[in-house]
């Protein structure tokens, strides 16, 4: 039966890849070829014009010359690279801080005898049912009142308390024998030291799995930045892409540049995934099975 299933699925795999291929070809087609009918499936004359158009001169604007990706956003220092930098900065900071915060909380909830820990854990798990969009309006107002609109704090601080990460780490931490912690306590180690020296090293696989999730989620985060970013300089890559699209949506001549930007946005995560594939699937499997 499984062998029979495979044949149509191999065909489906081609359809899976087709959109990626269509994006990649568009990114390397010269502008006239983008709107040719019928379209070319292999760029006849591959070019990097969508990234950088040598004929473009900001002083002389001509409609038929489309500026390349790295020639846009003249008022933003660094242009597209700036958005990649913003995204990277936010993604790494949120990942490191939220994992540290969550791992501390998970340790206190599982390895220490805290009065009231059960209630706290129940509230944390229950909060996972809340669609985060419910907090969109109030969080926008909080960030506005703190004057954090258009700042990195506005991106980072509201994203730090991740109930799902605590839940996942608690599940994993339960599997670490309490005896290890007791032994360290008998040896006179303080709780912070036990957390960092004994428990955290054993948590590495779980932390890696969660780090991957958080990095990806932050790299792709869209709705929250869309709301708090007003000035192009502070945009992350998804918001910049969406603005690029909004300004040129009905002009197919700009599709090459938009596809070039999409390519540059997808490539890092795809490479990241291929490099850490094992952690990825294990993380998903753990969260799915244990849940």
């Amino acid at each position: 039966m499984t062998r029979l299933l495979r044949i149509p699925l191999y065909l489906a795999a081609i359809t899976m890849l087709a959109p990626f291929y269509w994006m990649a070809t568009a990114a390397f087609k010269p502008v006239p070829e983008l709107t040719r009918n019928p379209p070319s499936f292999v760029p006849g004359d591959p070019t990097l014009d969508a990234f950088y158009e040598p004929a473009y001169d900001p002083a002389i604007r001509k409609d038929e010359i489309v500026p390349g990706l790295f020639q846009r956003w003249e008022d933003v220092p660094g242009g597209f690279l700036r958005f990649i930098g913003n995204s990277l900065l936010v993604a790494t900071t949120v990942t490191v801080l939220s994992l540290l915060i969550a791992a501390l909380a998970a340790y206190a909830l599982t390895k220490m005898d805290l009065p009231g820990r059960r209630v706290i854990f129940v509230v944390v798990v229950a909060s996972m049912m809340i669609p985060w969009q419910v907090t969109l309006v109030p969080n926008y107002l909080i960030v506005r009142n703190l004057e954090w609109l258009n700042t990195y704090q506005g991106y980072i601080v509201p994203a730090l308390a991740k109930a799902f990460v605590v839940f996942f780490l608690v599940q994993y931490m339960r599997a670490i024998p309490d005896d290890l912690v007791h032994a360290a306590r008998v040896d006179g180690a303080g709780e912070w030291r036990i957390w960092w020296r004994v428990v955290m090293p054993l948590m590495r696989p779980a932390l890696a799995a969660m780090a991957i999730f958080v990095v990806l989620a932050e790299w792709n985060n869209f709705l929250w930045p869309l709301i708090i970013v007003q000035d192009d300089t502070m945009a992350n890559v998804p918001v910049a892409l969406s603005r690029l699209n909004a300004s040129q949506a009905f002009n197919p001549q700009h599709m090459g540049v938009i596809m070039a930007a999409s390519l540059l946005t997808s490539l890092p995560t795809v490479i990241f995934f291929l490099a850490f594939q094992k952690h990825f699937t294990r993380g998903i499997a753990l969260s799915g099975i244990k849940g």
Partner: protein
């Protein structure tokens, strides 16, 4: 031998001393919890309560909120035709997208659960959309479903002699396209979960069934499916929750010049409508009522899920 008893130890006293010691030992634990709990309260619990309050006000972000009672909810549930459209679209989309992508995930998992290099490559291919930036993917779809003749979808149609379709501005194509995007983007994620579920089924079950002469279909029907029950529940529930929150697909692919929901609001769903009311019209009170409606829907779905109860039982 004389025992010198300095303090007569009464049970009550012992108990108090133990309680004090327990609290003292717990102090560093509360410090460890503090950062998470503070942020959790500040950016989740407090906003949640605020949002509930706003839902009963006419708040517009500028004037202080004025209490209007249940007016927002009354307007939302009985009068607002756009909301009805958004809810209906969401329900149809969620039902189709979750059913199809769960079925596709299961089929993929059954076909490519092995450890051979072919299976691993196939799993990688089907998982790729899950790690690609949603916005980038949506821009690609927009390009593929271009209404012009040179769009990929129209080119494929032309091979079969069909006339080009203006996909994105034809309302009856909207939901099918959104479902296609959801299945394309989501089947790999479900597949990975199903694969680990399949690999957890003991091989002896199948051996015993084969000895009893069970056909492949019977093995699937009476071993695989029941054993996958909890995994399937998880895939379906997380799929439902995710599908109700769809935003990017609508915002990037279908947004028309004047409205978030595309032509005749054919792509309008709950979160895009929430965004539209809250952040283009700044009816923050009304938007909060939409948000709480979304919450109620997801709450009901989540209650079905056993994860919550099971996780609590374990602690």
């Amino acid at each position: 031998m004389t025992a010198v008893i300095t303090k007569p130890a009464t049970p009550a006293r012992n108990h108090r001393a133990r309680q004090v010691a327990r609290w003292r030992r717990a102090v560093p634990g509360y410090f460890m919890l503090l950062p998470f709990v503070a942020l959790f309260c500040g950016f989740l619990v407090w906003p949640l309560l605020n949002s509930l309050y706003f839902a009963f006000t006419d708040f517009n972000g500028v004037k202080p909120p004025g209490w209007v009672g249940g007016e927002n909810f009354a307007r939302l549930w009985t009068e607002d035709t756009r909301f009805r459209k958004a809810l209906l679209n969401s329900l149809i989309y969620v039902a189709c997208a979750v059913t199809l992508s769960t079925a596709a995930s299961l089929a993929l998992a059954l076909a490519f659960r092995g450890t051979s290099w072919q299976d691993r490559i196939m799993r990688t291919i089907f998982f790729l959309p899950s790690v690609t930036s949603t916005i980038a993917v949506m821009l690609i779809w927009r390009w593929i479903f271009s209404g012009e003749r040179f769009g990929l979808a129209n080119t494929v149609l032309s091979w079969f002699g069909a006339e080009p379709v203006s996909w994105l501005s034809t309302p009856r194509w909207t939901i099918p396209l959104l479902v296609l995007m959801a299945v394309w983007g989501g089947c790999g994620y479900g597949m990975v979960i199903f694969v680990s579920g399949l690999n957890a089924i003991p091989e002896e079950f199948y051996e015993a069934a084969r000895l009893d002469g069970a056909t492949l279909w019977q093995q699937f029907r009476y071993i695989t499916l029941p054993q996958l029950g909890p995994v399937t529940t998880y895939v379906v529930i997380t799929g439902l929750i995710g599908a109700f929150q769809v935003f990017e697909a609508v915002y990037i692919v279908f947004r028309a010049v004047s409205s978030v929901g595309g032509v005749q609001d054919s792509a309008l769903m709950l979160v895009p409508y929430l965004y539209d009311m809250g952040f283009t019209r700044f009816q923050l009170g009304y938007a909060s009522a939409i948000a709480w409606t979304l919450f109620l829907i997801i709450f009901v779905i989540s209650m079905i899920q056993l994860r919550f109860t099971r996780a609590v039982r374990e602690l």
